[in-house]
Amino acid sequence: MATVTVNGKEVEIGASERLNCIQAASKVGVEIPAYCWHPALSVVASCRMCLVEVGDKKPDGTVAMQPKLVPGCQTPAKDGTVIISDSQKVKDARKATLEYLLLNHPLDCPTCDQAGECYLQDYSFNYGRGYSRLNEPKNIKPDKTYIGDQITLFTDRCIMCTRCVRFTREVSGSAELQVVSRGSHEEIDIFPGHPVNNPLAGNVVDLCPVGALCSKDFLYQQRVWWLKSQSSVCPGCSTGCSITVDQNEERVYRLHPRTNEKAQGHFMCDEGRFGWKYTHSDQRLTSPEARTNGHVTSSDFDSVLASVRTALKKAAQGKGKVAAVLSPWMTVEEAYLLAGFLKSLSGEVTLAMGPVRIEGKDDQFPKDVKGNVVEPVKFTIRAEKAPNRSGVEAVLSHFAGDVMPFEELLRLSSTGKFSAVYLVGGDPEGWISEIQAEAFSKIETVIVQDILSSPVLKHATHVLPSGTFVEREGVFVNHKGLAQMIRRSVRGPDGTRPDGRLLWELAERSGLIQTDTLRSEIAAAIPALAVIGNAELKVNGVLLDEAAVAV
């Protein structure tokens, strides 16, 4: 064990931990400000914001301090390291550094999108001198409105931390960004004709500690202090990136990655980042329907649900006449509610796994110029475009013993085995083709619970409009069996209900849905999912036993 002293407080560092002074200081709650340093990127020590006094405690107890200030990001903390970050010398250095960083900064905070979550603002407030002594004109560089389809660069706000440059070189591997010119003429730029359009490009906006790189999608949409955030999980693929959903007045404005070493690390892909737009689409199903011979006979939730219940109960009297398709877009709770409800109607119910969309191959980063993956892999966009296959499979194998694939259910359906099927959709890209939908054309009762229209809707006798991932609460289990919570950020449009609530009411459970109690029930009932009752689930998620979950 190594002991590091930070501002007089001692902290123990694990033998295998390789920390720099910033990380060691954060262990005792001391913030060392830094712009250019990022835990996922290489160290350049160029911003000079993290300058601290560093010394060495000798075995005889004397402390030898280094005469000069050293950058905390570049100095490893080892046994006996003494870090001082609150001396006048350090404070003066920070003040001077900030004054220099702000020399050419336009100070256009009122119109800057970063204002409110800007490190320049925060550090100026905490460590800066509060005013500029510059009497000469500022060096203002023209903005570059196109450096990528999703990114715009306000060149004048840049402080040259080069986080974005290092990201494109080290994580995406595409190396589109670079620093051109020298001294106060330094600028971030792209090679002509090679914009930043890699699948991870959006991350440079999050990495930018100031308002220089902005997302075109979010630009001027909202002031950040109006946004209310909720921790959630990206449903785009089975990587299951931890994210934060920012909404205001029942409208989602952006998603951004939430650092979670257990899940994906620090970043997320653009596909997930901008893949939430269907939530506010005008194509959403917004009217519950019960149909008889193609005519809508009722369009109010209570009567439609009652009708669904009657139809299912009637079909359940026959032997093995009820089937259900559980979508990999359902949460564990929803899958448990539906499977449990149908199982309680008839022990002979057929439960199948919905179609899991696979697109191409897993896309790994960083890549070299030829597109070959460079080890170590730092980010993976998975081909399996569904958030919760593992979780739903765990529920299915608990209730049905094995996991029936969708094709098998289609085959059985077209033979006329069933008189009622309950289909759950949820995939915004569509989950069933015209030909596949024909399998359900002869079935007496077809209940469709979905967010968007699909070919199977024309055979449906009951339509239940449900919620997207920002409107629901529950657990998603990602590719490696990490169970994480999605949380409700916004209310769905009128005429929709979150899946959990729909199924809770369908199962005629009393009161309102409480996912907490439901989770403890699942944890007790399904050994493979026993850990989802743990409190850690709500922070960074819990790993299920790898072996217990069918992979």
């Binding site: 256009d108 119109t111 005013y131 002594r133 004048d156 001027y220 202090w225």
Partner: protein, 223 residues
């Protein structure tokens, strides 16, 4: 238990009733004094009532009435859609949608695509005016605001600009500053750098410079 009576603290000061003299006890002088006041009002012919609406009141210069959105020297809306007013507004009556400025406007990044101010919800506190970094929104002396529907009093950008056109020449509603561009960087050619808003010790270089706005003194913690 023994009951001990605590001595009450002397908090009440007793004032003895003044002794009345002979005339005072007859009440005649007091009655005469009262009648004098009454008679003064009976015989006073100068009116105090203002004949509104024929005669308009002279409101104080700081009166806060209907808002206006100022125009800049090129007749564009001065507002830069920073939404500071909407943030400061305690009544939540301002809603702005921003749009990126066209490339021929190099002096700003964005402008309001829509600017709607609910004059019915507004409490006329003037916080929006305080918050505005470019002095684009100002409160005028217009107080007689009427409308036939609630929607008519949801003032949009054009309506607020028309209030500016109507009031800009009124000497009681002057355009208060010439500040119109955002940030010192935008005006570096014409304006001196603004000095610190904090007190600067004499040893500081900026205290010796002829910069506008420097507050000299040794109180400042900034050394």
């Amino acid at each position: 238990m023994t009951e001990t009576k605590a001595k009450p603290k002397k908090t009440v000061a007793w004032v003895e009733e003044p002794q009345l003299g002979f005339w005072e006890s007859t009440f005649v002088p007091a009655i005469m004094k009262g009648l004098k006041t009454t008679l003064k009002h009976v015989t006073d012919r100068a009116p105090v009532t203002q004949q509104y609406p024929e005669q308009k009141p002279d409101l104080p210069l700081h009166y806060r009435g209907v808002h206006r959105l100022n125009r800049d020297e090129k007749d564009r809306v001065k507002c830069v859609a920073c939404m500071m007013c909407a943030t400061a507004c305690p009544a939540n009556c301002i809603s702005i949608e921003a749009q990126a400025a066209p490339p021929e406007w190099p002096d700003r990044d964005k402008f309001p695509k829509s600017f709607v101010l609910d004059e019915l919800r507004c409490i006329y506190c003037g916080m929006c005016e305080e918050a505005c970094p470019v002095d684009a929104i100002e409160l005028t002396h217009i107080y007689d605001l009427t409308g036939e529907t609630r929607d008519a009093l949801m003032f949009d950008r054009e309506k607020l600009l028309s209030v500016y056109d109507k009031t800009k020449d009124n000497p009681r509603d002057p355009v208060r500053t010439r500040r119109g561009i955002l940030g010192p960087a935008a005006e570096f050619a014409s304006l001196p750098t603004l000095g610190p808003a904090t007190v600067v010790p004499d040893s500081d270089r900026s205290a010796r410079n002829p910069t506008a706005g420097v507050i000299k003194g040794s109180l400042g913690a900034n050394s």
